[in-house]
Symmetry: D2
Amino acid sequence: MAVRIGVVGASGFTGGELVRLLLGHPTADLAFLGGRGSAGRRLGEVQPHLAASAAGDLPIEPVEDASGLDVAFLALPRGDSAAVAPRLLEAGTRVIDLGGDFRLAAEAYPTWYGFDHPAPAWLGKSVYGLPELFREQIRGAELVANPGCFPTPAVLGLAPLLRAGMIEGNRILIDGKTGLSGAGRSAGDAMSHAATEESVRPYRFPAHQHTPEIERTLAEASGRPVGVSFVPHLVPAVRGVLTTAFAPAGEGVTTDTLVAVLAAAYEREPFVRVLPPGVMADTKRVRGSNTAELQAAVDERTGTAVVIGAVDNLVKGAAGQAVQNLNLMIGAEETTALPSVGMYP
Amino acid sequence: MAVRIGVVGASGFTGGELVRLLLGHPTADLAFLGGRGSAGRRLGEVQPHLAASAAGDLPIEPVEDASGLDVAFLALPRGDSAAVAPRLLEAGTRVIDLGGDFRLAAEAYPTWYGFDHPAPAWLGKSVYGLPELFREQIRGAELVANPGCFPTPAVLGLAPLLRAGMIEGNRILIDGKTGLSGAGRSAGDAMSHAATEESVRPYRFPAHQHTPEIERTLAEASGRPVGVSFVPHLVPAVRGVLTTAFAPAGEGVTTDTLVAVLAAAYEREPFVRVLPPGVMADTKRVRGSNTAELQAAVDERTGTAVVIGAVDNLVKGAAGQAVQNLNLMIGAEETTALPSVGMYP
Amino acid sequence: MAVRIGVVGASGFTGGELVRLLLGHPTADLAFLGGRGSAGRRLGEVQPHLAASAAGDLPIEPVEDASGLDVAFLALPRGDSAAVAPRLLEAGTRVIDLGGDFRLAAEAYPTWYGFDHPAPAWLGKSVYGLPELFREQIRGAELVANPGCFPTPAVLGLAPLLRAGMIEGNRILIDGKTGLSGAGRSAGDAMSHAATEESVRPYRFPAHQHTPEIERTLAEASGRPVGVSFVPHLVPAVRGVLTTAFAPAGEGVTTDTLVAVLAAAYEREPFVRVLPPGVMADTKRVRGSNTAELQAAVDERTGTAVVIGAVDNLVKGAAGQAVQNLNLMIGAEETTALPSVGMYP
Amino acid sequence: MAVRIGVVGASGFTGGELVRLLLGHPTADLAFLGGRGSAGRRLGEVQPHLAASAAGDLPIEPVEDASGLDVAFLALPRGDSAAVAPRLLEAGTRVIDLGGDFRLAAEAYPTWYGFDHPAPAWLGKSVYGLPELFREQIRGAELVANPGCFPTPAVLGLAPLLRAGMIEGNRILIDGKTGLSGAGRSAGDAMSHAATEESVRPYRFPAHQHTPEIERTLAEASGRPVGVSFVPHLVPAVRGVLTTAFAPAGEGVTTDTLVAVLAAAYEREPFVRVLPPGVMADTKRVRGSNTAELQAAVDERTGTAVVIGAVDNLVKGAAGQAVQNLNLMIGAEETTALPSVGMYP
């Protein structure tokens, strides 16, 4: 039986990717596309690659007109989801927010997002949408906070190791590398091809809002306090996030034991691939897929565990994971409409 | 008065860059070009961008035919410099080795380079060619070990801070990102455009040979024991190396104090640019130049110092630094033939 | 009912793309994977992005061991298909050749491919696998010559206009631009990232073997003699072919009449998108899809028709079109397992 | 003796490249930097790669404040040079305009540039700044119209062949490919890395303003009427323009005769490299240099001459050629401050 779906924020990269995936979903009925500047246009005008698809002629409507939906995806700028979600939720629409507005505790928003959270009550009910860690809560959730692109691979790699006591959590250092689609479609001169080709550069350090998201999720998943320093970098790619995390390894911990713990944690997961020792993670291999690749090793000279994760930031790091959450919420097969094999080369 | 110069290994990327820079050098006379597979051809055939230059018709001769040179640059594969250098040195030619064959202690070679060093006596006389730290020793050196591409920005950033006691040295974690020219001209399928575009991936971890080079140089420069874990990554760029180093910050150390120490250390250096707090390093800005950009900050939440360095791996990370060393060795102005401004965009 | 399928040449880019698409095909049973150098290994070892898929553990067998198949795809080097195909065909296996070995008349092979064709009788029975022009013949074919990457968009754009007499065919000039995956996985130093980024260059002009393929197919499709000059270029992309064809426009022909003819020719085609006047074709929009975008305009100042086509060279230009042909041959829905929407950005 | 130089439009890519080159010029004194939005800032703030250079602290002043200059470079948006130049010229400043405002006849401006030319008298005195064709006129010029990026390689390749009667000029077809820096620093979402990587697309066809510039210059250089259709394309590179021109070859014309004519025409030119038959032009080889590479061949099957040219659009296609013109105007050695060897890879 079809589920009435809305994509609110249909004109951005994430919105386009949501529509592309949902076009292949047998029970998701695209009932509403919402936008702000793009309202009044057809989807195919703002997303030309979708022009000839079944959704190409759908109108983009004002965000506020969303109604009568079973599930709404919100792919909106910072602060906008928090303003839009409550009305939908109160009308009985379940919400999957792809922004960052429902991922932290209320008191963290002024520091990391620069606003006072307008809907702390709903925030308290939000479930963090990382299916591999919180699958059961997601099934019944009214409001799902879809994870950020960096937290997804970082948390998938670190959480089982923290839980197993194989690494220390009080000073985890994470170096992130991201392609440029994460900056969105309207990203300004600094994201032009001319300014980014041959450019590797850190950004928004040490104030990136994914820092507390990783800390909080790891603490929740492992039951231990966690401290993280996170330095994100832009690299000249479009898709792909790779996180390289460093943490002190416990006594006797080796590459083999790290890999064994990860492999056991994810052996039944359709979208997590734990690499054997010595095989290197690669963002290119997972591009276009909902798969996360995880690699772990111990540098025995210094007793440092290194845990590396790679995802496509627009799929497992955003739209794909959101569809995975949708599938859980509506009782569909979890892999519906989601490729597990990347497009290579 | 002209100095007779040899470039041994003229057919690779580094060799080509050496020739390009030396063409603009008023007192360097390109007296010998050496190669192995390319011997017998003209330079312009193997380096077409140099075909129309003054060096385009120069013959590439067998490596062993090098003789009568004042200074020889060696840009040869691993292990080859160690075999070739002694004969040149014994004949009175001063040598600048751009390979890694003279950077470590003899006992480190089996582990990190996979061979027993064939010339440990010369190794003992080698001077590490980082002018900003070892300028005086370089002036008189017979044999200079030109630094690796990753060690150059990492050491430039960390050494003054270690010396000043602002960071701890026993567990420094370095995340490196490099463009693909570092793999050399004959790099195989894994370096094809098809396999590398949109690919971010670690490599050779935890066994990269720049690890002990960084440790040794930092220890020598700071007088303290240093332990480093180093994870290098390939990113889809041609030139550019960026190193992101994490170390525990000392009591009371702030972003401002870090930056002040670096700025003081390098205030008279023509090829080091210390960025003000909040400005992000960028490999693109230094591309084609012999300049290193350094950025430092403290993440006060976790007490972690982050020190970032960016260079063009073929210039300040290889050929440019080698010419800088040449200038010191022959008493020329240190900046001769070396651009300090990058080609942008 | 399942069809037994072989992919002969499974270790290359095209072979990998065939497997990726066939994994989503409900009636294609991957019964055989063949390779030369890769025989004896598992698919996932040579195509790591497929390692975790249902085909990841399939063995790659010697090419000669192919037997008992309903349909075999041949993705082999030049000259190899012509040697391999006859045995398969004689055993009753229908063959879709993705090489160029069955696209021209026998007498053209010495000039354009450098060998005497070893199986001229089979060559005579081969059907050119461009479904939009030769759909009915493909359905019953024993042997299908899958088109080249450049001929696909060029012929799709030009054939209807020639047939309608809107352009002259005796001196068509085609400028082609291709990404670098077309050179295959083992492409040597000239295809390294370092040698190709920022490089735009012609190649194999005027001897590219797609020239006679375009001429022959246009002549066959239009019933007129056709002469083509074709200059292919490499551009720094992985996927994507764009052809820009110039031809004298007939009396009274305008942009609108060109577009109208193309739109009428392809109005029911699921994989051809004719762009409205003024909209520019873009390889990026069709990447990962089996769609061809066509654009046409008249430069009225000089009476020149310009016809532009864009495809993903590995999908509509190779593996996707091959699967489209398979679908026709086995009576499946023509769009089975084939995306019509590209992955953007 | 120093010449007082102004760079008006110092904040764009071309302005930055002008300053970078002029920093190495022994007799050019950077006396004025002008900007519109950037007025009031220091150069290093808007061109960070120049921050540490001798020009880094120079103020950017309002465009209208330019005065007392010997020579002014104008690197301003369409229509702006035509408004700014007359006042400078009338005050005795010689002007090199890098925009398109002084390249065509007055009557062409409404059609191709969209404005009525405000200074037709000065337009009549303007000299087209292609030194290889108009060197003597440039020396004494008050006003030089620096050529466009596409016209430079196209005209250099075609003019000698037209003059020698080896090709016909009435229907020349030119396919252009350009990197994305040509769009300038403020180029909007369509020039973002996310929108351009893996994208090959035509643009502004058939109305690109370089069409009449090529026609007019070829006609002037050859004394024959010339008709051109020009289709420019964007490819995912930063620098580099490659033009592929097709024209009917005269009776008996071969690849060898074409190459011989070009080689003779340019044998003494320091910045033109005519490639031997069979060698392919490559934008990468000329990147960062003021060199144009020219390749010519005849496709004997169809009697078509193909003439290919490659330049760095920001150097020989803009700032470098402008400095070459400056050198002629001030009586300096023509090659002063201009590299002829590209930065490779």
